[in-house]
C-alpha cells in the first residue's frame, strides 16, 4: 500500500499546503489576504479586466504575470460579444475553485486522479435584470455543477471528495452565502 500511496501525484504539493495551514494557524494575521482586480470600460458592454497584485502573508504579492479578461455580452443582447459575460466568469470561478479543491483533497487522501471535468449550468430569468418583474431576482435562480471524474477510488470516495471540495471552497461560499458589498466613487 505504501508503495502505491507514494506514487499518487495530482501535481498538488500537499506538504506545502499543510505547512502553510500550520504556519497560518500560528500567525493568524498573515492569513489575512486581499484579492484585487481592476476593470476598464472599453465601449458598449465591453470591458477589459486585469489582475496581478494581491496582499497576503503580511506583504504585497504578485502573480508571475498580469492576467487579463475580456468581458462583453453576446450578440443576442445587441452587443459585440468580445468576451465572456460577467455571469459566465462567476461560473468559471466556481468550477475552477471546486476542481482545484478536488485535486488538493484527492492528493491529501492519496487518490490518483486521471481526469476531472466540471460542466456548469446556471439558470437566469432575464425579467429580473430587465426590470420586468420585481419578484424575479437579477442573479441565478440556481447553479448546477456536474463532475465527470476518473480516479482510483470508489464511487463513495469520489462523492466524498466532491463534497469536501464544496465545503472548503471560497467561491462556493461566495455564491451560497451573502457578502456585504461596498461600492464607492472616487
Amino acid at each position: 500500500m505504501t508503495a502505491t500511496a507514494t506514487r499518487v501525484d495530482n501535481g498538488v504539493n500537499v506538504e506545502a499546503l499543510l505547512g502553510a495551514r500550520q504556519a497560518l494557524t500560528d500567525t493568524p494575521e498573515a492569513a489575512r489576504f486581499k484579492w484585487r482586480a481592476s476593470c476598464q470600460w472599453v465601449r458598449g458592454t465591453h470591458s477589459q479586466s486585469s489582475v496581478q497584485g494581491f496582499f497576503g502573508l503580511g506583504s504585497e504579492q504578485s502573480h508571475r504575470t498580469e492576467f487579463s479578461f475580456e468581458a462583453d455580452h453576446p450578440e443576442v443582447f445587441a452587443s459585440e460579444d468580445k468576451g465572456a459575460t460577467p455571469v459566465e466568469y462567476v461560473l468559471v470561478g466556481l468550477a475552477s475553485c471546486l476542481t482545484a479543491g478536488i485535486a488538493a483533497v484527492a492528493q491529501h487522501r492519496q487518490i490518483q486522479l486521471r481526469s476531472v471535468k466540471a460542466t456548469v449550468e446556471a439558470g437566469m430569468d432575464l425579467q429580473g435584470i430587465l426590470g420586468i418583474d420585481s419578484d424575479v431576482r437579477n442573479g441565478f435562480d440556481g447553479i448546477k455543477v456536474v463532475f465527470d471524474i476518473d480516479a482510483d477510488a470508489s464511487k463513495e470516495d469520489i462523492a466524498a471528495l466532491v463534497a469536501q471540495s464544496q465545503k472548503r471552497s471560497a467561491v462556493f461560499d461566495i455564491v451560497t452565502n451573502p457578502t456585504n458589498v461596498t461600492v464607492e466613487i472616487r
Partner: protein, 446 residues
C-alpha cells in the same frame, strides 16, 4: 469575614464528572472539596427541557462504581431519572459537596490557587474544572439583527411548546437538540422550519442494536484526542441526530420532513427583517449521508471480522436525505409569521471566573486531554476531551482514572508552597522537573 479554607484540591461542579473525581480523590486519601453553585446535578435540574432524555441507553449510563440496575437496560433516562442517578451517586461516593456555593474567581496563588466563592475563600494546590461543557448557549452574533417582533430563545430556557405563541418557529441548528426541538414543536401543531448546517446523521438502531452499542464495540467512542487528525475540528463536531425514546425511534431529517418540518440551509444572515439561508443545504446533507455510510461500513466490517453476521440483523443502508427542490434562501420574518427563533447552535463552557492565562485566541481552554496549560489545573467532561466519549456520562470513568492519576502524581511531587516550573522555564533551560515519586504515568502524558 471567615478565614480561607485550605485543601489539596478544589473540584468545581457537583455533576457526574465532579463526583467521579471526588470518589477518585477520596480513594487516594486526597483532601478535597466539591463546590457546587446550586444543587447536585444542577444543570440537569434547571437547564434542560421537559421532554429531554439521555442520548445513551440505560445500560451505557454508568459512572465509576455506579450503574443502572433497573428493568429497562435499553431505555433512556428522563431528566428526573438522571437527577436521581447522580443524586444516588453523590450518596454512594459521600462526596464533600458544598452546595449553593458559586465560584466567582480562581487565580494562581503561592504555587496553588485561590478560589473565591460567594461564601468563603479556598486555597488549594490544584483545581479540577468540572463545571460542564454546556454552561452557555453559543448564540451567533447575527441574532442581534432579529427584529423586535421575533422572540429569541435558547435550549437552556426552552421547556415545552406551551411557552411559544402560535406563530412559526425557526429552529437554527440540526444537532440532537435542534432535531428534537423541531420535532416536538412541529408535533404541537406549530409550523417549524429547521436551518441545517453541518450535522451528524445516525439511526437509533442498526442491525437490531442501539447505535451506541456499535459505537462502543467498534471503538469509535474510545478514539483518543491524540490519535485523530484534527482535534480542534473533532471537538467542534455537533452532537449526532439522536433522540432517546421508549420506542427507540430514529429522528433524522427525512423523518422531520415527513412530519411537515421545512428544511432550509444554514442561517447565513439577518438583514432588513429578512433571514438569509445558505445555498449549501444539499452538500451538507450529502456529507452527512456519506459520513453515515462510512460509519455503517465500519460497523459491518467489524461484525464480519468478529464472525457475528448470523447473530445480528442484516446489513442495510438508509435512504439518502431528501432536500426540497428549491430550498428557501431568503425569508421575510414578519410576512412568514416567524414568532420564535430557537438557537440550537451549541453550547460553550463559561470560564469568566478563571483568572489565569490558559485560553487560546478564540477563548478556548488550552489543555492536553484535560491537563490544562497551567500547573495543577485540570478539566473534565469537555467535548472529545480525552476520548470521543468524554462529554458523555459513561466517558467519565476512563478520563477520571487517567486525570486522577496525573493529579495525584502532581500533588506528590509538588510540595505545598513550591512554585511548579512552567513550560517556559523548562524550555529556556530552567531546572528540569524531577519526579519525586515513582508513580508511573502513561507515556501519552507530558
Amino acid at each position: 469575614m471567615t478565614l480561607a479554607g485550605t485543601t489539596d484540591v478544589v473540584v468545581i461542579g457537583a455533576g457526574h464528572s465532579g463526583l467521579a473525581m471526588s470518589r477518585y480523590l477520596s480513594a487516594a486519601a486526597i483532601d478535597h472539596v466539591v463546590l457546587e453553585r446550586g444543587e447536585i446535578a444542577n444543570a440537569w435540574r434547571r437547564e434542560r427541557w421537559d421532554s429531554l432524555r439521555l442520548l445513551t441507553p440505560n445500560w451505557q449510563t454508568r459512572l465509576p462504581g455506579h450503574a443502572y440496575s433497573g428493568p429497562q437496560p435499553d431505555g433512556f433516562m428522563t431528566m428526573s431519572d438522571v437527577i436521581g442517578f447522580i443524586d444516588g451517586y453523590a450518596k454512594v461516593v459521600s462526596a464533600p459537596v458544598r452546595t449553593f456555593t458559586t465560584v466567582t474567581s480562581v487565580s494562581p496563588l503561592d504555587g496553588g490557587y485561590e478560589v473565591i466563592t460567594d461564601r468563603r475563600v479556598w486555597r488549594a494546590r490544584a483545581v479540577v474544572i468540572a463545571s460542564g461543557a454546556s454552561s452557555t448557549p453559543a448564540v451567533p452574533a447575527l441574532s442581534s439583527a432579529l427584529p423586535a417582533s421575533v422572540r429569541s430563545l435558547t435550549p437552556r430556557e426552552y421547556r415545552n411548546p406551551r411557552q411559544l405563541d402560535d406563530r412559526t418557529v425557526l429552529v437554527v441548528g440540526a444537532s440532537a437538540s435542534g432535531v428534537q426541538l423541531a420535532d416536538e414543536i412541529q408535533r404541537s401543531g406549530r409550523r417549524v422550519m429547521l436551518a441545517v448546517g453541518e450535522h451528524i446523521r445516525m439511526p437509533r438502531t442498526y442491525r437490531g442494536r442501539d447505535i451506541q452499542w456499535w459505537l462502543d464495540a467498534t471503538g469509535v467512542l474510545d478514539e483518543r484526542f491524540d490519535a485523530v487528525d484534527d482535534i480542534v475540528r473533532a471537538r467542534r463536531v455537533p452532537s449526532p441526530q439522536l433522540i432517546g425514546t421508549p420506542e427507540r425511534s430514529t429522528l433524522d431529517l427525512n423523518a422531520l420532513t415527513a412530519r411537515g418540518v421545512e428544511l432550509v440551509g444554514r442561517l447565513a444572515g439577518i438583514a432588513g427583517g429578512k433571514a438569509q439561508f445558505s445555498g449549501s443545504l444539499r452538500n451538507h446533507c450529502a456529507m452527512a449521508d456519506l459520513k453515515l455510510n462510512r460509519l455503517l461500513d465500519r460497523i459491518d466490517d467489524w461484525i464480519e471480522a468478529n464472525g457475528g453476521s448470523s447473530e445480528v440483523d442484516a446489513s442495510e443502508r438508509f435512504a439518502p436525505t431528501v432536500t426540497p427542490q428549491n430550498p428557501r434562501l431568503l425569508m421575510d420574518l414578519e410576512a412568514h409569521r416567524i414568532g420564535t427563533v430557537l438557537w440550537a447552535t451549541g453550547f460553550r463552557p463559561d470560564y469568566r471566573w478563571l483568572r489565569t492565562p490558559v485560553f487560546d485566541r478564540k477563548g478556548n481552554l488550552r489543555h492536553e486531554g484535560g491537563v490544562v496549560d497551567a500547573p495543577g489545573l485540570y478539566a473534565l467532561g469537555l467535548n472529545f476531551m480525552r476520548r470521543r466519549k468524554s462529554s458523555f456520562i459513561h466517558g467519565t470513568e476512563d478520563d477520571v482514572r487517567e486525570l486522577g492519576a496525573h493529579l495525584v502524581a502532581y500533588l506528590r511531587r509538588v510540595p505545598l508552597g513550591e512554585l511548579p516550573p512552567t513550560a517556559t522555564a523548562t524550555a529556556s533551560g530552567g531546572t528540569p522537573h524531577r519526579h519525586v515519586d515513582s508513580i508511573n504515568l502513561k507515556s501519552h502524558f507530558h
